[in-house]
């Protein structure tokens, strides 16, 4: 019975112009988004790996110079684009990809692409994830809003029930029809893309990518499933197709367009982001205080340029200074990033009424383009910077003593530069993403179950009103 109902509904839907037009548009957009994303990623990755190799090469071949001058020049490291960034670029355009590892200070990731963009950027970026999150639910609503209310209006529902069709078969048959309509549009493109993507990866990365894709499929499945059952539930509950359409569209607008914006505004109120000026002032103050204490403890001087500290101790002083700064940097940047993560976690609760918020976090996380993975990269880059600083200071300590005031005339050579290892960043594995985002997935599962329960309740009510 279930299969008959599903088959009948699928036939009906494919004959209807709605699915053909809207679905065709979604498929075309999906292909465009994938092609554009793929093109962008190829370009970015080749540019970034070339840039990084060039920078390291220049570091190795900088000839003879003072180690601190070399550290002042530093080097750039680049964040590799995760393979699934094609699917969901996440916060990528808003955070940039380059860190300058220079002496004295931790740099932030700079050069955000969104700064080069026009006002159109704020309408959103055409990505496969955006299409699945925003447009496909709309498509499900538009195709399915009258699947039960229409039967009632035509009088066929009465006939069906008089034949003894169980409500459960009716519900799952209709759901299967709706889901397969959405599936027909998404699955071929999705599977084709997944195979293409995995095939191009190196053997070591494949398994991770397959896991990620599987989890993504589960997350999106729950999300779209929620919309399928919600559509059916509303269609069964309300009196007319028109009312079902208006209600469902209202929910879609509120949940996908309004809720994410409202959630981020509200989270900002609870966990305010510090201003740049306040953050910088606080950081400078903490660094100065930590450095002052460290200088007093190590050298018994009150300020960095105290005349009683000979310049020949500069390497040791630099090391003490840097080490004192590290904890201040960790504390301040860590505090800021914690605020961001707290803001995001606060927003996840909005996922209880607007599942898109939960899905967005989950999707970015599994695609490797969320904040926690950005933070992981920033920490790795900072570790590399500290490695350079420590190597340089050690060398200054070793070579400084006999030089007196001519300290800066000392020059190190290629052996020192070669002792700095190349920066290799390994993207975190899928378990990292899951550890950060399992709550979102759980939330999506809860929402899905609630929608199924609502639909069952709606159909179990006397349908003959």
């Amino acid at each position: 019975m279930f299969a008959i109902i599903a088959a009948k509904d699928i036939r009906e839907l494919t004959r209807d112009g709605r699915l053909l037009w809207a679905g065709g548009l979604v498929v075309v957009l999906m292909l465009v988004a994938l092609a554009a994303g793929w093109n962008r990623q190829l370009q970015l990755n080749s540019e970034r790996s070339a840039g990084q190799a060039l920078d390291y090469d220049a570091w190795l071949h900088q000839g003879y110079r003072h180690p601190h001058d070399a550290a002042e020049q530093g080097m750039h490291v680049f964040k590799p684009e995760p393979p699934l960034g094609v699917f969901d670029p996440g916060i990528g355009p808003f955070v940039g990809s380059t860190v300058w590892l220079q002496a004295h200070r931790q740099s932030e990731v700079k050069f955000r692409p969104a700064q080069d963009a026009t006002g159109l950027q704020r309408f959103g970026e055409l990505s496969p994830a955006w299409l699945l999150q925003v447009l496909v639910p709309l498509l499900i609503i538009v195709v399915g809003f009258n699947s039960l209310s229409g039967e009632r209006e035509r009088g066929t529902l009465r006939q069906l029930l008089s034949l003894g069709v169980p409500a459960r078969s009716l519900l799952f048959g209709k759901a299967a029809a709706l889901a397969s309509c959405a599936g027909v549009l998404i699955a071929p493109v999705g599977i084709g893309f997944a195979v293409f993507l995995v095939a191009r990866l190196s053997a070591g990365e494949r398994l991770d990518a397959v896991y990620r894709i599987a989890w993504l499929a589960a997350g999106y499945g729950l999300y779209l499933g929620f919309f399928v059952f919600l559509t059916l539930a509303v269609s069964a509950l309300v009196r007319s197709s028109r009312a079902a359409l208006v209600l469902l569209l209202g929910f879609w607008v509120a949940a996908t367009l309004i809720a994410p914006r409202t959630a981020s505004e509200t989270a900002n109120l609870f966990y305010p982001t510090p201003s740049r000026l306040a953050f910088d002032d606080h950081l400078s103050h903490d660094i100065a205080e930590a450095a002052g204490k460290a200088w007093a403890a190590h050298f018994g001087v009150r300020s960095q340029w105290d005349p009683s500290l000979p310049l020949s101790k500069w390497g040791a002083a630099l090391k003490v200074d840097d080490a004192a700064g590290y904890s201040a940097l960790d504390e301040n940047f860590g505090g800021l990033w914690d605020t961001f993560e707290r803001q995001q976690r606060a927003q996840e609760w909005v996922g209880l009424v607007a599942p898109i918020v939960a899905l967005r976090g989950f999707s970015m996380g599994l695609a490797g383009t969320d904040f926690s993975q950005h933070r992981d990269f920033s920490i790795a880059a900072e570790t590399q910077r500290r490695k350079i600083q420590d190597i340089v200071s050690e060398d200054l300590i070793e070579h400084a003593d006999p030089l007196g005031n001519a300290h800066f005339t000392y020059k190190a050579g290629p052996e020192l530069w070669a002792s700095v290892p190349p920066f290799k960043y390994q993207l975190p594995s899928v378990s990292f993403a899951l550890a950060h985002h399992w709550t979102s997935l759980a939330l999506l599962a809860v929402m899905f179950c609630l929608s199924v329960a609502l639909a069952q309740y709606a159909l179990s009510r006397p349908l003959m009103r």
Partner: protein, 489 residues
Amino acid sequence: MKSRTLANLSLIIRHEARILVRDRTLPLVCCVLALMVGYGLFVGLAQATLRDRMVAQVEKHEQATQRANAGTLQSVLAGKSALVPFSNPANPAAMAGTLSGRFATIPNAPLATLAIGQSDMMPNYYRISYLSKVQFMYDTEIENPWNLLSGHFDLAFVIVFVLPLLVTTLGYNLLSAEREHGTLRMLCSQPLSVATLLTGKIVVRMLALLTIVIPLPIVVLLLVRPETRGAEQLGLMLSWSALVASYALFWFAVAALVNATGLPSSTNALIMVALWTLLVLILPVTMNLVVGLVSPAPSRTELASRTRVATAESLREYESLYSADYRYASDPEALLVKDKRIEVPSRMRAFFLAKQRVDEKIEPLLERFDQQLLQQQRLVDRLSLLSPAILVNEALNSIAGTDSRRFVAFKDQTEAFHEGWRRYFSPRILESRAMTVQDLSSLPQWHWIEIPASETRWSIWWRTALMLALAFMVGGVALARSSRGSAGF
């Protein structure tokens, strides 16, 4: 004939208003709109206040640093305080770099509350020193990237995205409902044209929406932000009202056209939602992609690599200055002002010169970035003709002064100021001239020069005119179709 049409129209308006109020559709929609407008305004006000406060803080910071510098300089010159080698305000290289508290700031435009636009992505101040542009021009205000991605719930969002949906709610069944209730036939048997009926119904709904969306923000702004009371701002508010009204009119014209096709109500609703999705969601997002493809920004990776090359070259160029004798730490007395001269440590001089060289070398690439942004903007201007949503959004941002044009102007002016800052210090550093107390008060001053209002006005009015023309075109077709009786009765 004409007077009868008018009498009919006013009858329909009164009748329709009564029905809509009784069945609670109109009060409900109006309440939702008022709530959203209120919240959008609140968000806009909060953002504007935040940015006002930032600029004020920065200015306060600048004054405090200046006072501190002046105090230290006086006591150093009088020999009262000990010399700190690299924070000595008499040393022009220290003044140009670490000690400077100069900021370039862009104030909120008076109507900034109306649209947040690009203002959360772009900085509203830069800290000016002798550092290279790449070191400070890409700093922005701290913001959670997730929030940047979500966007703000500001008034522009309510107008561009939500208003058309409310128009859809009120207008998808203008004629179809009458047809479905069987009352259209009856109405058509009266001496009343369908065009008049349609016009009357639209007038009621449009007036209801506009009486909330237009006066509410204007009144609140006039009350809360005194800077909006000037003649120029009132003019801008007028153009803002005209723009919003023409955008609403466009969507009502679409509703009229859809109703004139004679299809059932739910099909009408579907068509309108499809149009909304296409014009407000899909087209702008696709255009964003097209703009990036047709006119791509120069590579950020290239900028980073070029910065590295330029930095290395400049460091090498001044190698001899960098590695000179450095006795100032153990002998700060060497940095005393003697006969209005001060020994600028060669390493500090090298810093100054090297950063200057980096900028000279990177300049062509940065120019390409700016050029690129202008080109993209021009492309957006042209493409905006394809989607009323883009058209209105761009115009709303330019009224609020949060469009990318204004930020590009700010960047340009900052670069010029940065140049001037260097020009001021260059001879002092190279000729080892000590800073005097008078010098401190004659440091280059930042003045923001607002972009010409005439340019903004023109760009807003042609967009409004275009929107109106579009609305009348669509509305004209709708009325023509409905009076030809093709509305399915």
